[in-house]
Symmetry: C2
Subunit: 123 residues, 2 copies
Amino acid sequence: MKDEPEQDRCSCSIVHEGPVASARAAEAPVSRLLDLAELFKVLGDPSRLRILNALGAAELCVCDLSVALDMSQSAVSHQLAVLRGARLVRARRDGKSMFYALDDDHVREIVGIATTHLDERKG
Amino acid sequence: MKDEPEQDRCSCSIVHEGPVASARAAEAPVSRLLDLAELFKVLGDPSRLRILNALGAAELCVCDLSVALDMSQSAVSHQLAVLRGARLVRARRDGKSMFYALDDDHVREIVGIATTHLDERKG
DNA sequence: TGAACATATGAACAAATGATCATATGTAAT
DNA sequence: ATTACATATGATCATTTGTTCATATGTTCA
C-alpha cells in the first residue's frame, strides 16, 4: 500500500483493457478495505482464534481463559483488548472479574465458512 | 502459542469450573486452528484484499493487476504467490501471461459476512 | 484504610511481514 | 540462438506483531 504516481508500474502493454476496466470499476473504497483487512488480521492469530473458540462455548472471565488455554494472564488480556477493539467480543464486569463473550454471531459464520474452505481444499 | 507446563498461568482460583470445562471440551485441534489463522492472516492485508476484489470482477493477468491496482509487478507477484498458497486463487498460463482467478466462492462469502459485521458495528 | 485478588497496560525484544531491488525463469517471435 | 516480454523469486530492510516482565488500575472484604 504505497501511494505513488500511476506510471510505469509494469513494463507490459495492457493486454486486457476490458477486464482491467471492470476491476477498476469494482474497486472498493480504501477505508473499507483497510477495515476489512484489519478485521481479518485480528482473526489471523492462533491465540485469538483459540480465545474466540473458547468464548463460543461459554462466557468466560480472563482468569478462566488463562487457565483453559494455558496462556499467561497478560497475554490473554492483551489479546482480549485487540478482540474488543475489533468488536468481536464484549466485556461485562462482575465484581473483580471481567466476563467476555462473543459480540455477535458473525464470527461463528466466518469461521464456519473458512473451515469449509479448508476442508474442501486440503483434506 | 507457547508450549509450557500447565501451571500457575494465573494466580486466581478457577472461579467457573463449568464454563472452563465447556471451553476445554470445545477446544479445536491445534492444526485446524493454525490453518484457520493462516487463512485469515492471508486475508488480513489490504493489498491482497484489493487483488481478491479485482479478481472477483474479472480474470486478470499479473500485468493487468499491476496496472489496475497501481502496484509493482514484483509486489503483485509476491502476493499472488501467497494467495495461491492459501488456495484462494488459481493460475492459468496463456502464452506469456499468467491469468489469475478466484479459486472458489468462499472468499466472496467470507468477505460478505465480514463486511456485514463492519456495517453493523461501525457505521 | 489496607490487604488481596483480578485485570489492564506500558516497555522491551525476538520473530514475522510486506515492499523494493536485482535477477532468474519461462515463453514467443524473429 | 537471440532478443524481448511476462512472471517468479531471492535478498534486504523497515515496520509490525505477540509475548513477557513489571507495574498500574480497579474491586472486594476485613
